[in-house]
């Protein structure tokens, strides 16, 4: 609009058309998708945390009587005389596991990547297979092997070694270390496989001795990655449940997670105590995640997207056979013994140590019983449905989130990334308890408690960071030129997404789906809080059978589960062997 003199007007306020344009721009297709995705992920992540926080400040959460705001839950729980020992036990357990798993995992990774150790593929196999063995099954196998007169202790005794008491802190640390070594090993592989050898060569040319090169070049380069791996092992261990429950509780070795489970198992349920202990685990895990990201996160990412390096192979000379021995012993302890114990126990009507006499009692009755028991078959059906839904939904959410993170310039996209990766610090026990509380307390129109939907919600939340880690790097590798070319040809954003990106991302999407499927398939801890007779899953069936003393049935179910998951992993690795091969290993490092 011009004034009477024809000069340009000075607008005192934004013209309605400009305001409308700005509002319209804000409500663009991209921003709406971003908003919806962020809201969905925020709901999944913030609801459990928020519920836990509220529960920790309520006097009678979920009670039938009146309830008010209070700090009593904190003062009663944190002020209990046994609380310092509970924290001490938890930190000692997690600290020792972190130390041993990181040292052994990194050493094995070094032998694998940087040396000419013979048959080192065995180390890779021995690291990958335990990843698909559910924690409950691994712990159960070790409980049987380390019985006072069990095969391992008998063998140790025969060669003059002391017997190991499985129900002890030593037993807990041993079994959990074996479960977490693969995590450290795979992170070590990712880190060492991409270290630039030119730095070491430069040091050698400059006259540095191998020891000095190690001290001045290799160790400083590795330090962030090692610390990052160690902190992830720590976070994983402080929030672990199976080993502390099966081995720690009998030994009077209480940690935070078992105390939470104990408080939910007794009548009346101590909701306030559960929530406060959950907050303690959450704070420790968040701190660990923060430090992990600060110290190691960037290193991990750089190893994914940076250019590839062929690491120098060190000739160990005659020591190569010693390193082969180390790898073989690791493989024996980590893979061969647990799997053999599992299969052996699954073939017996009543568990007994391996012997010639026991060979005559071998039977497939435990396997046939699985297929003859309707509740177990129902649990298997639920497990498959839940795992498939978890894989599909997680992949769907992650592909949209990754697109927004990588291919757009939405201002708040870092908030989305933070929300989607935060569940790494959300232990399963917290997820289970808080979702149970939320769906019991929230005035929602639909009852989700007792349905498989609540399990899917829990598993999707837990799987989000892993799905994103598969898909985000794969998105980064696709040039934006393709999108621009399609746009110039008149394609809509939806067409670009479905016609350009999805076909190119298919291997990564399939791998993400299968990995989330595996996570959901073997998840126990959160399921223990959320299942009902209708929605029971196999991991819960196995735990119930264990509590009922049916060792051999548990092992038969575990063997079948491992076979199914092994097939899934083979598919993942086959798909990952193409263009996304470098992204496959990274999600392994986180759980």
């Amino acid at each position: 609009m011009a004034n009477a003199q024809g000069t340009s007007p000075v607008p005192l306020t934004t013209p309605p058309s400009a305001l409308f344009a700005r509002v319209r721009q804000w409500f663009s297709e991209q921003n709406i998708i971003f908003l919806i995705t962020t809201l969905v992920i925020a709901y999944l992540v913030l609801v459990p945390v928020g519920t836990l926080v509220i529960a920790s400040f309520r006097s009678n959460f979920l009670g039938f009587g009146p309830s008010s705001w209070t700090l009593n839950n904190y003062s009663a729980t944190l002020g209990a005389s046994s609380f310092p020992s509970l924290i001490g036990n938890s930190l000692e357990y997690a600290g020792l596991v972190t130390l041993f798993a990181t040292v052994i995992g990194m050493a094995l990774a070094w032998l694998y990547v940087r040396t000419n150790t013979p048959a080192k593929w065995f180390a890779l196999l021995a690291s990958l297979v335990p990843l698909i063995i559910p924690g409950l099954i691994n712990a159960a196998a070790w409980v049987l092997m380390l019985a006072p007169n069990g095969p391992v202790n008998n063998a140790a005794n025969a060669v003059g070694l002391p017997r190991i008491q499985v129900y002890s802190l030593t037993g807990m640390v041993l079994v959990q270390t074996l479960q977490t070594i693969p995590l450290a090993f795979l992170m070590g592989l990712a880190m060492m496989g991409s270290m630039d050898r030119s730095l070491e060569e430069a040091a050698a040319v400059s006259g540095a001795t191998p020891r000095r090169t190690l001290r001045s070049i290799v160790f400083p380069l590795m330090r962030p990655g090692v610390l990052g791996a160690a902190l992830l092992v720590f976070v994983l261990t402080i929030s672990s449940f199976e080993v502390p429950q099966l081995i720690g509780v009998p030994a009077h070795e209480w940690v935070l997670t078992t105390e939470i489970y104990n408080a939910t198992s007794q009548y009346p349920v101590k909701y306030g105590t559960v929530a406060v202990l959950g907050m303690v685990v959450l704070v420790i895990a968040l701190l660990g995640l923060y430090l992990s990201r600060r110290l190691g996160g960037m290193t991990v990412r750089e190893t994914v997207t940076g250019k590839g390096f062929r690491p120098t192979i060190i000739d160990l000379g005659r020591w190569r056979w010693a390193s082969f021995g180390a790898v073989a012993i690791f493989g024996l302890i980590s893979l061969v013994l647990p799997v053999c114990a599992l299969v052996w126990a699954s073939l017996l009507p009543v568990y007994q140590n391996p012997s010639g006499a026991a060979l005559h009692k071998l039977t497939l009755s435990n396997y046939t019983a699985i297929f003859d028991t309707s509740s177990t078959m129902n649990a298997a059906e639920n497990t498959i449905v839940i795992a498939v839904l978890t894989g599909l939904i997680t992949t769907l959410i992650c592909v949209v989130a990754a697109y927004l993170l990588v291919k757009t310039r939405v201002r708040a996209r870092r908030v989305l990334e933070m929300l989607a990766t935060a569940p790494i610090a959300l232990p399963s026990v917290i997820l289970g308890v808080s979702l149970l509380y939320w769906y019991l307390a929230a005035p929602l129109p639909v009852h989700l408690y007792g349905s498989i939907a609540i399990l899917v919600i829990a598993f999707v939340t837990g799987a989000l960071p892993f799905g994103l880690r598969f898909i985000e790097p794969a998105f980064s590798q696709i040039s934006t030129e393709l999108e621009e070319a399609a746009a110039n040809s008149g394609a809509t954003r939806f067409q670009v997404f479905t016609r350009i990106y999805l076909p190119l991302l298919r291997p990564a999407l399939t791998a993400a789906f299968l990995y989330c499927f595996i996570i959901a398939f073997k998840e126990l801890t959160s399921a223990l809080f959320l299942y009902s007779p209708k929605s029971e899953v196999l991991s819960v069936s196995m735990y119930s059978s264990w509590i009922a003393g049916s060792y051999t049935s548990v092992c038969a179910m575990g063997t079948l589960m491992v076979i199914v998951l092994a097939i899934a992993v083979l598919l993942v690795r086959k798909l990952g062997s193409s263009r996304t091969s470098r992204t496959i290993q990274i999600p392994h490092v986180a759980r």
């Binding site: 009663a76 729980t77 002020g79 509970l86 036990n89 019985a147 006072p148 007169n149 069990g150 499985v166 129900y167 509780v249 009998p250 009077h252 209480w254 078992t258 105390e259 104990n262 198992s265 007794q266 009548y267 009346p268 101590k270 202990l277 009543v350 568990y351 140590n353 028991t373 449905v385 839904l389 599909l392 939904i393 769907l396 769906y439 019991l440 639909v446 009852h447 989700l448 408690y449 007792g450 349905s451 498989i452 939907a453 040039s479 030129e481 040809s489 394609a491 939806f494 067409q495 479905t498 016609r499 009902s532 007779p533 209708k534 119930s544 509590i547 009922a548 003393g549 049916s550 060792y551």
Partner: protein, 378 residues
């Protein structure tokens, strides 16, 4: 990776079909989740529309058609898991068309689960049984006390039970040991709880800290403080904690623990018959006995089937099945296993069935404190 524009344009022609397929897939996924969520809802009355009071007035023959319409009954129980398929088979044979969905739950889990379900407004259990479980639920107002079970057996003298409940079995607590492993350790099997307070058994026996069964059963007859003193001595001898009696028995048989201080008599007798070299047991005198009670959950989803099952479970026919699995019945018209139940030889000390939830909770706290169980403020 690069494609020509022509290929892109060609692909665009199919975009409508692809979009429709994607939308259909999304809808299918959403409907799948919605269908899953509907699993949580539960009816509060019989599928025939009969009210609870009408059902209470029916005979079992009259209940059966309605129960068949409901199709199933869900039972939360602490009865050994191995027994459940056999009980289900016997019940389903008697009442074809009504499926028994039996869920084994240890410790106080049946109580916490039913309470949680009631709070969620999504009760899934129809029938609950276990030592003290139904009584606790009754005191929380979660048991249908209007139901009068038919042919309910009389309780032993001096015991009483709240309305709506009946005994489905007696639970004897015995000491179980592994003869082979005990001998290998150079020990002789224990014959009493006092034996296990000896230093030679330190760390070599297990106890279930989640139920105060020994204290509950022996306390009233032998003196509460005396028994608590014994438990403290056991607790000071570093027992291995095992969170279910059935698991404790299996651990003994597998040799992971030499002796279990609290296991079920019926489990021990069955295990000892299977392999006497790995399981032996001792009935102490006096013998701690719990009374397992059974009741129907208020607002349960299958009220007719629940009544039919509870009536059958406590009937002579049902109890004969229960006893055939090694359990002990309170009924006098069925024959119990003399290896487990012989009041003339082992004086039974019964728990107080109808004590208040507050007293039960206090006893559990004292039991766990004596055993040095628990890690924090719970």
């Amino acid at each position: 990776m690069l494609r020509s524009d022509r290929k892109v344009n060609f692909a665009m022609r199919k975009s409508t079909i692809r979009r429709a397929a994607l939308v259909a897939a999304g809808l299918a996924l959403a409907s799948g989740v919605a269908a899953c969520s509907s699993g949580g809802s539960s009816p509060s009355s019989s599928s025939s529309g009969s009210t609870v009071s009408q059902l209470n007035g029916m005979t079992d023959a009259q209940l059966y058609p309605t129960a068949k319409q409901e199709g199933k009954v869900t039972w939360y129980t602490s009865m050994p898991q191995a027994d459940l398929p056999k009980i289900a088979a016997a019940f389903e044979k008697t009442y074809p068309g009504v499926t028994l969905n039996a869920l084994y739950l240890s410790g106080q889990t049946p109580v916490t689960r039913v309470e949680t379900e009631a709070k969620a407004g999504s009760v899934q259990a129809d029938v609950v049984s276990g030592s003290g479980d139904a009584v606790l639920l009754d005191q929380a107002g979660l048991i249908d006390s209007t139901f009068k079970p038919k042919d309910a057996p009389a309780l032993p003298a001096g015991l009483s039970m709240p309305a709506g409940l009946a005994s489905d079995r007696l639970i004897t607590n015995v000491i179980t040991y592994n003869p082979k492993a005990v001998a290998a350790a150079g020990l002789t099997p224990p014959t009493s709880f006092q034996d296990l307070t000896s230093p030679k058994w330190k760390g070599k026996f297990s106890i279930d800290p989640t139920t105060a069964d020994l204290l509950d059963a022996l306390g009233p007859a032998e003196g509460y403080s005396t028994v608590l003193g014994l438990i403290k001595q056991l607790g000071d001898n570093s027992p291995v904690f095992v969170t279910s009696h059935s698991l404790a028995a299996s651990q003994v048989a597998a040799g992971t623990v030499l002796v279990a201080a609290s296991t079920y008599g019926q489990t021990a007798v069955v295990d000892a018959q299977k392999d006497p070299t790995t399981t032996g047991f001792v009935n102490t005198n006096p013998l701690p006995v719990e009374v397992s009670e059974v009741g129907i959950v208020k607002n349960d989803p299958n009220p007719a089937a629940a009544r039919l099952f509870m009536d059958w479970l406590i009937s002579k026919a049902g109890q004969q099945i229960v006893v055939s699995l090694g359990n002990t019945s309170v009924r006098t018209d069925v024959s119990n296993n003399p290896q487990v139940w012989n009041p003339a030889k082992w004086k039974p000390d019964f728990e107080n069935v109808s004590q208040s939830a507050a007293v039960t909770d206090q006893q559990l706290q004292e039991w766990q404190s004596a055993l040095h169980y628990s890690g924090s403020g719970s």
